[in-house]
Symmetry: C2
Subunit: 214 residues, 2 copies
């Protein structure tokens, strides 16, 4: 398809598409002559992901470029490629090592991972920004006196594991590896608001069932 | 306890405590003479919540005052009181009625709630900002071409319902109604980052189990 059709089908203006092309967020089309390039469904899919990252996720352009670089790096194994793309996304706050709550939080997270048998997460603990943001979030709770220890976290972690299995089952319905990684990145940005809203709605529903609404 | 001890035990400076008192976020202490007031454990607990809202949740002072007004309103039934406090918190984006994806998203959310038998959520649909933020999040996914329909959302909603049951089971371990509502509000601000991090960590763990880490 030509640029005009790519714009029409994606709902993104031609000016914005040209901007994404210049910034290297969208690979160039196949040049058919000096002034015309041809785009395909891969471009349409990529454009969708770029909009998810930039317009919805408010991810800075440089970060989006780094994320997409990992998405496209087919020299990596599946877990590493997906991990690299997801780790490049903006994460929660880092733990503040000057905060005395951090050491306790790290110990509870480690106890949790042992108890759950999440061996890979334990091995990757030093590297993973996700692990660090969990430690930071638990440290904040503990510093404010709302203690969350391994025992309290374990049933939540089990439910989040069931959620992650649904996520990966869905990824596996995509035929190509590239689509799987793209979908994982889009889901990280777009599906979290859905899960958060479902969680809050479930709290309302369950509260009404237990206590009525009078 | 005196102001100095309240500051010491809460880790909040006396200047900040005085600011919270002036802004009506913390109820005044019991005046023992012209220059001295006496504070109790209720003040300590409230201070913890105010810090959670303002320092961690970045909730504006006026919003925090409104949330706390609902927390303290014991004329309300339990579900309504908790709901009013939680609804006053900043929510996700509102649906944009000019967006053609919104009507489809609202229909899928309604189908989901029917299928799950979440009758109260259906009754409150017109009123609840949580319901609106779910519609907005689903509309965004659909507009970008990552369709989430009722069938795809249902297993996630069931897991979020199990999560909400854990939340309420924990609230019920608190003796007083005031503490329950306070804890629900603190959890909405402080526990979401923990859940999000546990979810991402579970994705890493499950991905490594399925595909290895090479």
């Amino acid at each position: 398809m030509r640029l005009a059709e790519l714009s029409e089908r994606s709902g993104v203006s031609t000016a914005t598409i040209k901007y994404y092309l210049r910034e290297g967020l969208l690979p160039p089309g196949r040049q058919v002559n000096a002034t015309t390039a041809e785009y395909d469904d891969g471009h349409l899919r990529r454009l969708r992901l770029v909009r998810a990252l930039i317009q919805v996720g408010r991810v800075p352009v440089a970060t989006a470029r780094e994320v997409l670089g990992h998405v496209d790096d087919d020299s990596l194994g599946r877990t590493i490629r997906m991990g690299a793309a997801l780790w490049a996304l903006p994460q929660g706050p880092e733990p503040d090592e000057a905060d005395p709550s951090v050491a306790g939080a790290r110990a509870e997270v480690d106890l949790l991972l042992r108890r759950l048998g999440w061996e890979t997460s334990r091995e990757l603990a030093e590297l993973s920004p996700v692990h660090r943001s969990l430690v930071a979030a638990v440290a904040t709770l503990n510093r404010l006196g709302y203690g969350w220890d391994a025992e309290r976290m374990a049933p939540y972690a089990e439910l989040m594991h069931a959620t992650a299995k649904l996520d990966l089952d869905f990824l596996e319905t995509h035929a190509s590896e590239a689509e799987r990684v793209e979908t994982a990145v889009a889901a990280a940005v777009l599906c979290e608001p859905v899960l958060r809203a479902l969680h809050r709605l479930a709290q309302e529903e369950e509260s009404a069932r237990r206590y009525g609404i009078e």
